[in-house]
């Protein structure tokens, strides 16, 4: 597979090991990413914050489906997954809560501009 934002997202996710934002979650989520007639599948096995990523078919508690270009946008932080779901561009089969969970893994949008007033010393962001 080529390297694109989707591939890179799942590859990086597989190196995180423990993701504290998912500490309460134990679930298997599959992502079905389609392009033309081809569907690539990634499977996230989440066990109290430990995330294992594998490719290929697997039984899952929920399946999130999206076109590759859409998911590239999500992986770059440019597309909001919840809005995409409401737009009909993204689907969730099974337990819909899983999307809320997975949304925590998606990156933030590219910054449009520096944060105003505190852009000086106010934003004590580490």
């Amino acid at each position: 597979m080529m390297t694109d934002p989707t591939n890179e997202f799942f590859r990086e996710l597989g190196t995180r090991g423990n993701e504290p934002l998912l500490k309460d979650a134990t679930a298997t989520v599959r992502f079905d990413i389609t392009q033309d007639r081809q569907t690539d599948r990634w499977c996230l096995q989440i066990n109290h914050g430990n995330v294992r990523v594998s490719t290929g078919d697997a039984e899952a508690d929920g399946v999130i489906g999206a076109g590759r270009s859409l998911f590239n946008g999500i992986a770059r932080g440019e597309v909001n997954a919840m809005a995409a779901l409401l737009r009909g561009e993204l689907t969730v089969d099974g337990e819909p809560d899983l999307l809320v969970l997975c949304q925590r893994l998606f990156p933030e949008p590219p910054r449009t501009r520096d944060r105003q007033p505190g852009a000086t010393e106010g934003w004590r962001r580490s």
Binding site: N80, G88, E95, R111, T112, R115, T120, W123, R124
Partner: protein, 693 residues
């Protein structure tokens, strides 16, 4: 019919033989059910009909209507019964702002059902309409050829189901009450009311208000689209039937002694949606609790930022306050443990993201300047935050109550860190920060010549010096120096803020004061309920009773359903509370206000595994019993008798003021606080409350 912020049915007109009908009566059977009795024809004074039409509507999975026609004549009758239908699939934002649709409509008449649809790119919403009786279906309506025998009846069941459809063919019913029959809802409401404490009171009006509050709270339960089947309080019907951080938290706090499960769901769902990244469009930061979630077309296409929108400065500290208060009532340390990460992230947000000017206070300024919210405190209208002379400060604004919430959140977070998270070092750090915040706040916000706290600090750190009800929230949070409480209470119950019905949002005499201005002079029942709690916290029992008396007395004029706000006119001027023209009824935190006022009047306070009861009730209330209050103690009862003489001004209504004839108080008085205590089992509950004086 609206569902999840989209209007799925905008036209639903019944005719018989092409004539409209006249409604003889309407009966709101339940919050989810209404019955209309009608006769054919309109426009005449006399009704001389031999036909009756009954339309019984229920909100279930979508909407159902049982249409029944009764023939009272000796002859059979044949009729063309027609229902015109249509949907504009308007997003709530479009309805409010009168915007144009960008997509295409379609309609399909299929055997046995009519499908109305709206499509914009991959966005698709459909309304399915079907009937239990044979029907002729056209794209704009349903027609029945009906014959009713002499003294007979004809009936059909109509179903209207809102759905979301994905291009791949998946379909989902958009209903907060999926798979629910009206019968189930009946049972559910009965259980809901039966599960809440029972109220017995000499003052009948209070009983009515209490029942109304419980039923309205049931109606306002809302299951977020993707949060399973759990429900939490939505903000208000019909415009705010969605998740709101601030409203859901305040309402859950008010309802804790009555229906603690609402708080549990609110904490779980808001925790799940807690911000994790910096997103300027949504005003999101890591740790921030959401402001508002919306599911309509404009949110889907990111023309509005509500998926969800995070622009609120108070929900995040209040989240920690609710978590701690919830544990104090229920003893549910499991949930506190599960939400440790979320609570810590919320506490982190206060110092790391909310201190926009670097001066150590929470302040707010939207980053989404097009569709974000300007005022991110509960007084969110454009002119709510002003100087005495009416000028409006620039941004960022650090309103006073936000600092109180932050102070309270740190102390409560510290308690949970010791009790549940096993992190005493973190607890000590939070306590030191809280103490430092209180010290600084009392220096920077205190207005020496007025002897009250400023409404806000502006971007330069100067005081925004108008006198407002926010001072009462400061009492609730405990950030007020003991030595200053007398002055603050004197203002709250004084003639500039206290109208006789309640405490005004902004004091009379301020340049922007207007008794019918949204946040600049009206009285908000929700605001008052938290101020009453604050008064109790500092030991001002009689003053808390006075506030409760005014608001609960007002509730009687609204048949037990308090509006969001009412006019700030003095009670002696209007004799009745003047309703503010408001969009939502019921409104969740107004619905919750009588509940919190009951708590404050009875002086209910969980201490350890016991419930302290320390009543201070207005005289006119007579005997009050609240039975089976749920909590970590199991169930206990609380009793009280009205002993506090409240001032209702001259010649006012008898119920609560029959013995009072003095003018409204301008200074707090301390009366004999003694009142009977609750006693069921535990003598420890007789001990005086630790927060009292």
């Amino acid at each position: 019919m609206f569902s999840y912020d989209t209007r799925f049915l905008s036209r639903w007109v019944l005719t018989t033989d092409s004539r409209r009908l006249t409604a003889l009566s309407t009966d709101d059977v339940r919050y989810y059910e209404t019955k209309f009795f009608l006769v054919p024809g309109t426009g005449t004074v006399y009704v001389d009909a031999t036909l009756s039409v009954i339309r019984q509507r229920a909100v279930a999975e979508g909407f159902r209507e049982q249409l029944t026609i009764l023939n009272h004549d000796d002859k059979p009758v044949s009729l063309d019964v027609r229902i015109e239908v249509g949907s504009d699939f308007a997003d709530l934002f479009e309805v409010k702002d009168a915007l144009r649709k960008k997509g295409k409509y379609y309609a399909r008449a299929e055997p046995g059902r009519l499908l109305l649809g709206y499509e914009r790119e991959s966005f698709r919403r459909e309304t399915e309409i079907s009937s239990s009786q044979p029907v002729q279906i056209a794209e704009d309506g349903l027609t029945f050829a009906v014959t009713v025998e002499p003294h007979g009846e004809w009936s059909t069941d109509l179903r209207v189901t809102p759905t979301i459809r994905w291009p791949g063919g998946q379909r989902r019913v958009l209903s907060s009450r999926r798979n629910r029959d009206p019968g189930d809802m009946d049972e559910n409401l009965r259980e809901w009311v039966a599960d809440a404490p029972q109220l017995e009171c000499d003052w009948e009006s209070l009983g009515r208000t209490y029942r109304r509050s419980l039923v309205d709270l049931a109606a306002l339960r809302f299951s977020p689209l993707i949060a399973g089947s759990q429900s939490l309080p939505a903000a208000g019907l019909p415009w705010f039937m969605t998740m709101f951080g601030r409203d859901s938290i305040f309402t859950s706090l008010q309802a804790l002694p009555f229906t603690p499960e609402l708080a549990a769901t609110t904490l779980k769902v808001l925790g799940r949606w807690q911000g994790t990244r910096v997103d300027d469009f949504r005003d999101e930061d890591p740790g921030r609790i959401l402001h508002e979630m919306r599911y309509g077309e404009l949110s889907a296409f990111e023309e509005r930022p509500h998926t969800p929108y995070y622009g609120t400065a108070d929900a995040t500290p209040l989240y920690v306050v609710l978590l701690d208060e919830y544990e104090r009532w229920t003893g549910d340390t499991t949930l506190v443990s599960q939400l440790e990460l979320e609570a810590r992230a919320a506490l982190d947000w206060i110092d790391r993201y909310a201190d926009l000017t670097g001066n150590g206070y929470i302040s707010y300024q939207r980053r989404n300047e097009e569709t974000g919210l300007e005022n991110q405190c509960w007084k969110d209208s454009w002119d709510s935050i002003s100087y005495r002379d009416g000028r409006l400060p620039g941004f960022p604004r650090a309103t006073a109550e936000l600092q109180g919430y932050a102070y309270d959140a740190k102390l409560r977070g510290a308690r949970l860190a010791r009790l549940v998270w096993n992190d005493p070092a973190y607890a000590s750090r939070l306590e030191e920060e809280a103490a430092d915040l209180k010290r600084r706040f009392n220096d920077d916000f205190w207005i020496e010549d007025g002897r009250y706290y400023a409404l806000a600090l502006d971007a330069n750190g100067d005081q925004v010096d108008a006198l407002a009800s926010n001072n009462g929230h400061l009492l609730w949070s405990g950030i007020v120096d003991e030595s200053r409480a007398d002055s603050v209470v004197g203002h709250l119950l004084g003639p500039r803020l206290f109208s006789g019905w309640g405490i005004r949002t902004l004091a009379e005499g301020e340049r922007r004061y207007n008794p019918i201005g949204y946040h600049v002079g009206t009285v908000w029942p929700f605001d008052n309920s938290f101020v009453a709690w604050g008064l109790r916290r500092y030991g001002f029992k009689d003053e808390a009773a006075q506030v409760a008396a005014g608001i609960l007395d007002a509730a009687e004029f609204f048949q037990g359903r308090l509006p969001e706000a009412f006019g700030g006119y003095h009670r002696s001027l209007t004799r009745y509370p003047v309703q503010f023209p408001t969009a939502c009824s019921p409104q969740a935190w107004s619905t919750g206000a009588p509940l919190l006022l009951l708590r404050t009047m009875l002086g209910l306070e969980p201490i350890g595994d016991h419930l302290i009861v320390d009543p201070a009730l207005p005289v006119g209330i007579g005997r009050l019993e609240l039975l089976d209050i749920p909590g970590r103690w199991g169930r206990v009862d609380a009793f009280g008798r009205g002993r506090v003489e409240v001032d209702t001004g001259p010649q006012l209504r008898a119920q609560l003021g029959e013995q009072a004839a003095a003018p409204p108080v301008s200074r707090p008085r301390r009366a004999d606080p003694a009142g009977p205590r609750a006693t069921r089992t535990d003598p420890a509950r007789r001990s005086p409350p630790t927060t009292g004086r």
